[in-house]
Amino acid sequence: MDWKPVTLSPSPLDQSWYEASARARLAGLLDADSFQEFIGPEQRMMSPHLPLFDLPRAFDDGMIVGHGLLEAQPVLVAAQEGRFMGGAFGEIHGAKLVGLLRAALAVKPSAVLILFDTGGVRLQEANAGETAIAEIMRAIAIARAAGIPVIGLIGGRAGCYGGGGLVAGTCSRLVISEGGRLSVSGPEVIETNRGAEEFDSRDRALVWRTMGGKHRRLLGAADAFVDDTIGAFRAAALAAIPAAPAFDLATLQAEQARLEARLDRFGDCADATEIWGRLGVDDPTAVPGLTTEAFDALLDRLPEGPHHAR
């Protein structure tokens, strides 16, 4: 495994994205003091469902939306707080994101940034949550069709699972870190339904090599792999905005073709390392230990270039 000195820097940009709260991520990601929140916690727009289950509510329902500047460009942002109910989508939580995406049509920002940190739909308000997922995906498609890039940033404790994984799949570009995981069914869900032989959710290395940032980047599901710092996410978000593809028939056909080819090529692989081997990685077992620099160098060396579909 490669190693790097651990910094003890106090700069906000050097702080861990994975460790930070949703609000701290936004504060570090955007230009200093540029963030303005819509429907802030002072409005106490809370879940109407959780009290039925005797569960505590959050004043922001775990979703922070607003606008700000990224290197002086106006952006709309949404950040999920993974520490409140695992960042799960409920009625208010989802509605805030839908509203933000719809507002993008009027505001015309340089991009909408979604800071995912979610286990999926909130079970206590599942119908409202599932509906929200559908509405969000539709709103993203409409925003993208209007020429507004929607960039997903994935690196939180809860990962990006369930409906969050579906929503991420509709974004123009995805940035992911090692700590981030991107999938629809989570490890425990797979184990519960198919048994530990199929997927041992306690095997952390297995979880990360199957759902983690490096694998998603290698497969082309994510477009950039970054260090777990707020500064690295900021830089990657800036780079992703101009790289967002047009949302047209050609892009969608290319994406469909890419996914079909991927399934043909790797469908019979039992483990991520087999996929990496077929991609031309010489030493697949070394991949999880690579630093970001070494991993980027590996991506450059691979026979196929980076995927630029979607």
Partner: protein, 548 residues
Amino acid sequence: MTDWCQERTAREARLERARAHADGKVVPAARVVDLLEAILQPGDRVCLEGDNQKQADCLARGLSACDPARVHDLHMVQSGIVLPEHLDIFEQGIAKRLDYSYSGPQGGRIAKMLYGGQIELGAVHTYLELFARYFIDLTPNVALIAGVSADRDGNLYTGPNTEDTPTVVEATAFKNGVVVAQVNAIVDRVSRVDIPGDRVDFVVEADKPFYVEPLFTRDPGAVTETQILMAMMAIKGIYAEYGIRRLNHGIGFGTAAIELLLPTYAERLGLKGKIATHWALNPHPSLIPAIESGWVSQIHCFGSEVGMDKYIRARPDVFFTGSDGSLRSNRAFCQTAGLYACDLFIGSTLQIDLQGHSSTVTTNRVAGFGGAPNMGSDPHGRRHPSDTWMKAGREAGGTGDPALRRGRKLVVQLVETFGDKLVPAFVEKLDALELAKKLNLELAPVMVYADDVTHIVTEEGIANLLLCRTLDEREQAIRGVAGYTEVGRGRDHAEVERLRARGIIRRPEDLGIEPLDADRSLLAARSIKDLVHWSGGLYEPPAKFRNW
């Protein structure tokens, strides 16, 4: 005429019977049961090496496969009851009586078997106590031990987890006992002789390497902000004030937080070189950042830790290592060091009562003591002064000529007011008393007695029990840091404020600590991977701690 050599003659007879199953000293794994049935006699005192970490598991499986008609009524004398086989043999009738120290994962089953009368209990010991009794009245007739490798003469390499082995062998081999070692490999030449071959009678090449549990690894990713706050208070309010340089840490997340704050928070307080330089400690991965930042002069270890071998080999200035480069640990010596040569023990517990007695017992588990009571006690045999020890002694007060007063070891309990599943850590009455009644134990299993505890640190503050002059003050000092538990809410507010004015209770703000500053960004490492990076890739965490 008196026969003064009956034991030796008996030993020769055992060896003679056993030799049929051995090639010289070497016994194949498939013959273990034959070997043990040949050596063991009913009623034997047997140490089946079960350490904190290293387990003689092949011999344990062999023992539990013995015919109870031939091998029965054994008296087991071993520090750890860890593997299922350690208790199976009681159900099978192979063993009958038990003297031990620590039962960790088997604590629940032991309680049931004690209650059901399947185990005749001698006593639950601390490590040093059981080791001491090996030389007085619990000397093993047969020791079944574990090592990494052996040569054909029985010279044994125990590897980094030497742990209890030298003590067990010393007591057995020099008192006419038989020593059988399981090893992972028979080699032409061992890399270092930890146990000389003339103390080992038989060597079994095990069917698979002995089991080692990573007991001392705490994932920095799971350290909470409450634990960080408590660690900040301990560092500023205790380590800095008493200038604690020689110390032992328990294995909880609170002490891991202290280790991870040394290169950051403690460094900012200017404490480097002034505290936490000399340790009796297992090689905790969470201490790597402090070691790498130059905080630590040296560490003596009870045992090793999975994944730390390469790192330890590369840091011989810090660790005790053999001529082969690997760690040499020794539980008996390190426990003694922790008892006599350390000025502070800090650890966690499950329950503290109004006097300050603490216990890790719950009503349905007998987890045993291990080494915490040895280190978490004030050794009255100590005679060398240190500034820390003398300051604590002065605080404890007393009358007469100061030159005739002893110092005090600092024994600190680091506990969150509510533990796992919001169970209160402060109670009116310890569950240990209930358990003692249920199992007819003469002594309630108390981990650290009240008269040994000097400080209690919770998220609400520090209670300095040394400064309490009456039992009432002591009770209110404890209630005064017990937060919103029943015990905490039962405090006399005016008395608690008086104690605070006297510095007996100190809140974070009294120490100049802002609780909102207790943030995970203060941790020198926030993940296992950070620890690997700190170690320059030398630390190799076991799979269960990796997410890569």
